[in-house]
Symmetry: C2
Subunit: 156 residues, 2 copies
């Protein structure tokens, strides 16, 4: 894990622009941040090499691809030993419906971000896979109605 980065204003502009459009050409990016293309490319490469930019991803339109149900699941376990936590984390990676997952502290132990083609598929997953999984105590679900904000993870 890298040390806290020291970034100047241009670096922050680059990060903001690439969060907004990760496929922007380097020429366009350099124009927007106010330097010429070669040093701009070197800055981007440095940000990638230092792990500040972790990756680039295309964001897809789930409903257009037949995925109409987005939901969150808060999962509580009976036992929270390191072995138990790791076992459940491993299990989440084997479930395609679970698109991302976090280990959390609070009333629950895991937060799952889920995606399914329809409500039936999601309910079947919750009942037959999630709730009936070993060591799972409680499952609370929140079906999303619509997303009201979607900014990048790190602001400005």
């Amino acid at each position: 894990m890298p040390i806290k980065a020291d970034l100047d204003a241009i670096d922050w502009k680059i990060l903001r622009e690439l969060q907004d459009d990760g496929r922007m050409t380097n020429v366009e990016l350099s124009r927007r941040v106010g330097i010429s293309a070669p040093p701009c490319l070197r800055r981007v490469k440095r940000l990638e090499d230092e792990g500040i930019i972790q990756r680039y991803r295309a964001l897809l339109n789930a409903p257009a691809l037949g995925m109409d149900v987005v939901a969150f699941c808060l999962v509580g376990l009976n036992r929270q030993s390191e072995v138990d936590l790791k076992a459940f984390a491993d299990r989440t990676r084997g479930w395609p419906i679970v698109r991302s997952a976090w280990m959390v502290s609070g009333e629950s132990d895991f937060m799952l971000h889920c995606l399914a083609p329809d409500l039936g598929t999601f309910q079947t997953f919750v009942i037959e896979e999630l709730t009936s999984s070993p060591n799972v105590d409680t499952v609370r679900t929140a079906l999303t109605i619509r997303q009201v904000k979607d900014d990048g993870l790190v602001s400005i």
Copy 2:
């Protein structure tokens, strides 16, 4: 909102590759999906034009940028009329700590994905901004310990 797309195997390969590396060159992409560059570029453009690919985004390393606290907040409102829901949704857009937000159904009305530089900043936000916001009834927070899965939103 577009009609359900009809995509062939090559389109799905393209979507998978661009979810994995959204900044891949078209030449490399075409090599991976097994067609030449021009038709590959035309397919990507079509996927973008139809809104199936919504955007490209650089994913940043939050801790390296001094953002050590990632949390989820489940917010329940006193009144859930359309006006009330819209008012709270608008409010979330004005909070930089809230990076993304969903309107949900279930025990709560909104799910907030939050990012803060430290625990104190996050707690101040919850107490002085979120809990004390008009019409907010309940706030349950789940601090993330670590992310255990992070796939793209739509699989394969």
